[in-house]
């Protein structure tokens, strides 16, 4: 082979190597661009999902705003569960858990947000337990207004929706957050006419079930909220002495009663 042909072959090889290197570089550039696009899209998707998640989380200071927090979560929790006045669940359930609560009480709120959804899922939906709510007015005048408003919602079998949304939008005790505007927003979000709730919040007729609830609490030996009585009938039975407000403590109290 002449040296001229060798030079040509070498030049061809060098050109091919250059082209291969160029092609590899372009391929790498394309892959990095694709990876960048994938990461960019993922960041946008995740940010949107996180914002949606954050916008619907419970907010204890939401009472000062114009929106009602936790509406979709509250609906999801109560969807398909029967309500009748102050009771939640199957009227033929073998066991009744009566809760004595004050709507301004932060511990009642903690129970409502952390434990109640689990009790509904585990016991109420399968028809093993019915819940009864007996509102108390320990904390202050606003507790009375809120309790009367909730009783008005009970007349439309929406008490549990109303109460759950009140907890999800609870403000500081006796800070004056339970205004007509607040009650109207909660009522509307709970699916109750605002006028019905506002009229009820000052109505003497709504005080009757609250006086009865107070008498039940005294009979049961309730001294704080939330307190719970478990038995075969509403408001009657054994006062629970719970070590903590978690599903484990409730299960330890409910399960043996269900086995009887």
């Amino acid at each position: 082979m002449s040296s001229r042909e060798e030079q040509k072959a070498q030049a061809r090889a060098e050109r091919a190597a250059r082209e291969r290197a160029q092609a590899q570089l372009e391929q790498r550039r394309k892959r990095l661009l694709q990876l960048g696009s994938v990461v960019g899209v993922a960041v946008i998707v995740v940010v949107v999902l996180v914002l949606v998640s954050q916008s619907s989380k419970p907010d204890p200071n939401a009472s000062s705003g114009v929106t009602v927090a936790g509406v979709s979560e509250s609906r999801a929790m109560l969807r398909g569960v029967a309500q009748n006045g102050s009771s939640l669940g199957d009227k033929n359930a073998p066991l009744v858990l009566t809760e004595f609560a004050d709507l301004q009480c932060p511990f009642c709120r903690d129970y409502a947000l952390d434990v109640l959804p689990q009790i509904i899922q585990r016991y109420v939906r399968p028809g093993r337990l019915r819940l009864e709510l007996r509102l108390q007015r320990f904390i202050g005048p606003d507790s009375d207004v809120a309790a009367r408003a909730a009783q008005a919602a009970a007349s439309r079998d929406r008490m549990w929706n109303f109460v759950d949304l009140m907890y999800r939008n609870q403000g500081q005790e006796n800070s004056g957050y339970i205004t007509d505007s607040y009650l109207s927003r909660i009522a509307t979000a709970a699916g109750v006419p605002a006028k019905l709730v506002l009229d009820g919040s000052t109505s003497a007729s709504m005080a009757k079930p609250l006086i009865a609830a107070q008498a039940e609490a005294q009979t049961a030996g309730v001294t704080s909220t939330p307190s719970f009585v478990i038995g075969r009938k509403a408001g009657q039975g054994k006062l629970l002495n719970l070590a903590s407000l978690d599903i484990g403590a409730f299960a330890a109290a409910i399960d043996p009663e269900l086995k009887r």
Partner: protein, 147 residues
């Protein structure tokens, strides 16, 4: 690893994810408590927390839709489907990381099913990105171009 093997591995992992999400969707709508190994209440607490739904849609349903979409994108051939699969997988991984943060620092409870899903999504994301970055000579038809 070849493109074909990576695709099968990702698909199998995605189908495991479909099973996990389908189970959580079932227990949600059947009103049951999720099975929790060791008898803990973490799963129940997480599943019934206010973060278990997003704009009214249960997170389990979103997860199921995500896993199914990833599986479909893996079955469909072509560059575009590969990109979509990777984007879905990385998005799922990111959202799953956020949910794990909520479990650890906000809800203070761990759901074993959610942990399983987070691990699966991490694996899927790694495999999908690996597949995306494969050199052309490891792909089934290096000369093929997207229409």
């Amino acid at each position: 690893m070849s493109e074909g093997r990576l695709r099968v591995a990702t698909l199998v992992t995605a189908l495991l994810g479909v099973c996990v999400a389908a189970y959580l969707t079932y227990v949600h709508y059947a009103g049951l408590q999720p099975f929790c190994a060791g008898g803990g209440h973490g799963c129940e607490r997480v599943q019934s927390s206010s973060y278990a739904s997003l704009g009214g849609i249960p997170v389990a349903v979103l997860g199921l839709a995500g896993y199914v979409a990833i599986a479909i994108a893996l079955i469909v051939p072509g560059e575009r489907a590969r990109l979509i699969a990777a984007a879905l997988a990385v998005s799922g991984f990111g959202f799953s990381a956020y949910l794990t943060y909520l479990e650890l620092f906000v809800i203070h409870a761990i759901c074993q099913w959610c942990v399983a899903s987070a691990i699966l999504l991490t694996l899927i994301a790694v495999l999908a990105v690996w597949r995306l970055l494969l050199d052309d000579d490891r792909r089934p038809d290096p000369g093929a171009k997207e229409p």
